[in-house]
């Protein structure tokens, strides 16, 4: 920048030594900085290895293949991985990973829905609804999440009955201190066709929507897109299912000895962690949604009304699309927060990644450096993937702007 400015006579500028050339100086400084960072990283890794060796602490990743020998509470992770005590530490890692992904995924969906409801409610013209929402948001937002997790866990536990006095909801669904038990679907021969029907329904819906959109663009005629979609995705597979003579059996949970066995179970640790994460994160999402809606100028809805558009479509077609552009970026950080906060699971024995892998496995093997590195890498990856997806969605939403 400054180098181009002719100060005084031009001849002098040309003679300025390299030492004072800002461009050269900047380049040298940056190269030096990069070298320094590389050397720093190298010396840290090297130091760790030397010191581990000196203290005779085992290192390397070989432990992932050895037998774990401990048991993990029944969860989606143990089901997918088919985990048992003879499984390896590597399988225990996957159990933790799936459990973390499960609670984060469901948590994000529910927190988004609940957050949108709360955010809209806080802006409601109905005084009671607006105030209720305000009080809820301000209270839950300001209580530490860990306390809320403990509260829900022990509140849930203390109010549930023991297995012999389980609450029965009919349809073989029962609830007690050990969890919510449900029949487990056992697909029989022919059930594959139902899955194919669902797939056909999804693809069909995609094309139907495109067609309906184009038709509306050219002719202005509307098509019942929503109900047709429901018919295709839900109705059609059910029809196939019935035609094939219902190729599905159910494994019913039954009380044997101490507890219900068979069927599927959602353990109380999962329920309370999910509940706490959703109720807490939704308060932040609600504020983001409120800010987003307030950011859309009132003139927009007035203009829509003036054109004769009803309130529902105004919100759906005019306000929300514009609000989303403001909402999505901060929403992404809430999703990341929820995912990272799910590691508080360790406090209430939900077997997530931190509890199983950075907890039990770390303690049984003592390989803290390797295990924490893997754990960090996993959270980093989840966060980056979430951000990338949200940025893509954000870009897509901004394009709608004309």
């Amino acid at each position: 920048m400054a180098a181009q400015e002719p100060v005084g006579d031009g001849a002098e500028t040309a003679r300025v030594s390299l030492l004072y050339d800002p461009k050269v100086r900047a380049l040298v400084a940056q190269v030096a900085l990069i070298l320094l960072v590389i050397w720093l990283g190298y010396s840290m890794v090297n130091n760790t290895l030397v010191n581990l060796e000196k203290q005779s602490i085992a290192s390397g990743f070989g432990f992932l293949g050895t037998t774990a020998g401990f048991s993990i509470a029944p969860t989606l992770g143990t089901f997918i991985v088919d985990y048992a005590e003879e499984s390896s530490y590597g399988s225990a890692f996957y159990v933790g990973l799936f459990n973390t992904l499960l609670v984060a995924f469901i948590g994000i969906i529910l927190a988004t829905i609940w957050g949108f409801i709360l955010g809209v409610a806080r802006l409601s013209n109905n005084w009671v609804i607006a105030k209720l929402s305000t009080v809820y948001i301000e209270t839950l937002r300001n209580i530490p999440l860990l306390l809320q997790i403990f509260f829900w866990y022990f509140a849930v536990l203390r109010s549930l009955p023991n297995p012999r006095e389980s609450v029965e909801f009919g349809a073989n669904i029962v609830l007690n201190t050990r969890g919510l038990f449900m029949p487990r679907p056992l697909p029989e021969a022919g059930f594959g066709w139902v899955s194919i029907a669902i797939l056909i329904g999804l693809v069909g819906t995609f094309f139907m929507r495109r067609w309906a959109h184009q038709r509306q663009e050219s002719t202005g005629e509307q098509f019942p897109v929503f109900w047709t979609s429901v018919g295709l995705i839900v109705g059609f597979p059910i029809l196939v299912f019935l035609v094939l003579g219902m190729p599905l059996d159910w494994q019913i949970p039954e009380l044997r000895g101490f507890n219900f066995r068979g069927g599927m179970v959602i353990i109380p640790e999962f329920m309370s962690l999910l509940l706490a994460l959703v109720l807490y994160t939704a308060t932040f999402i609600a504020e983001i949604v409120r800010a987003g809606i307030l950011a859309v100028s009132h003139g927009q809805s007035e203009a829509a009304h003036a054109l004769g558009v009803r309130s529902g479509p105004t919100l759906r077609l005019v306000v929300i699309p514009q609000a989303l552009r403001v909402i999505i970026p901060p929403l992404t950080s809430q999703y990341l927060n929820l995912t990272k906060n799910s590691s508080l699971a360790v406090a209430i024995a939900y077997p997530d990644l931190v509890s199983v892998f950075a907890g039990t496995v770390l303690n049984q093997t003592g390989q803290a450096v390797e295990i924490l590195l893997i754990t960090l890498a996993v959270y980093l990856t989840i966060s980056i993937v979430t951000s990338v997806l949200m940025n893509w969605y954000n870009a897509k939403m901004s394009l709608v702007e004309r």
């Binding site: 509470a73 077997p351 003592g366």
Partner: protein, 339 residues
Amino acid sequence: MKKIILPVLFGMAAMGVSAPSASAATLDDVKAKGFVQCGVSQGLPGFSNTNDAGDWTGIDVDVCRAVAAAVFGDASLVKYTPLSAKERFTALQSGEVDVLSRNTTWTMSRDTSLGLNFTGVNYYDGQGFMVRNSLGVTSALQLDGASICTNTGTTTELNVADYFRANNMDYEVVAFEKADEVVQAYDSGRCDVYTTDASGLYAQRLKLTNPGEHSVLPEIISKEPLGPVVRHGDDQWLDIVKWSLNAMINAEEMGVTSANVDDMRNGDNPGIKRLLGTEGAFGEAIGVSNDWAYNIIKQVGNYGEIFEANVGPDTELGISRGVNALWTNGGLQYAPPIR
């Protein structure tokens, strides 16, 4: 702003290069700071627990006090770090504590691959099960299908898996990081069974709403030799901790107690004279003063005394000496001679 970035980076690099190394002499560090930093549990009555006055007491705490008495001649020069089962080894490895005395089971993998060394056994234990009386269970073999609450990062988790597999029984394990949450969860009915070291069961039972409604099953399913641990690679410090415990066991065997130690010191039993430092230079050999064991026994007591005071029949825990009796009384407590 820019001016400080480079020096800071250089500083970080320099720190990276001179990361603390393991071979530093713990004794010198301890003397320099003036106290022993001791890793204990987060509250296990009888082993390491704070009393009403806020002071740490227990049989594990007394090991730390014995080490301080040996090093400084003053058993009170100890600072305590409460650690969960999960945190304890990292805390010792990283130098946060000088000695770990926290109902920790001596196993081969912990002794060999964690960069740690066990220095002896101050309590021989074994894993047991506790259940509600209302379940009507009288043997661990009736526990098929039970839910079991326990601590993560313990030998307990592994033993229970072995036991149920060996006996072909189903179970569901609910593993918490902190012992208090295990107690609460068991108390609120999440589990049918609470399992940990038998001594721990008696201690934790005191924290339940109605201790009388729970009992410990007769089966002991594992060996849990509990003892103090130090970092690998500092033999002098290892010797100090090891012999502080041995001195207490030897003292009991010789009949030396905190009450009679002054009289005994003037007696002429050569074994006792060596123990109490009036003959030989055993203290100097491990880098402390020769009256090291005298200070331990005078200020902390012999092994029998610390057992009786913390976990014995007259305490809340009411545990009898059993396998923890001296070898001369049919137990396992046996210390090599001071000679």
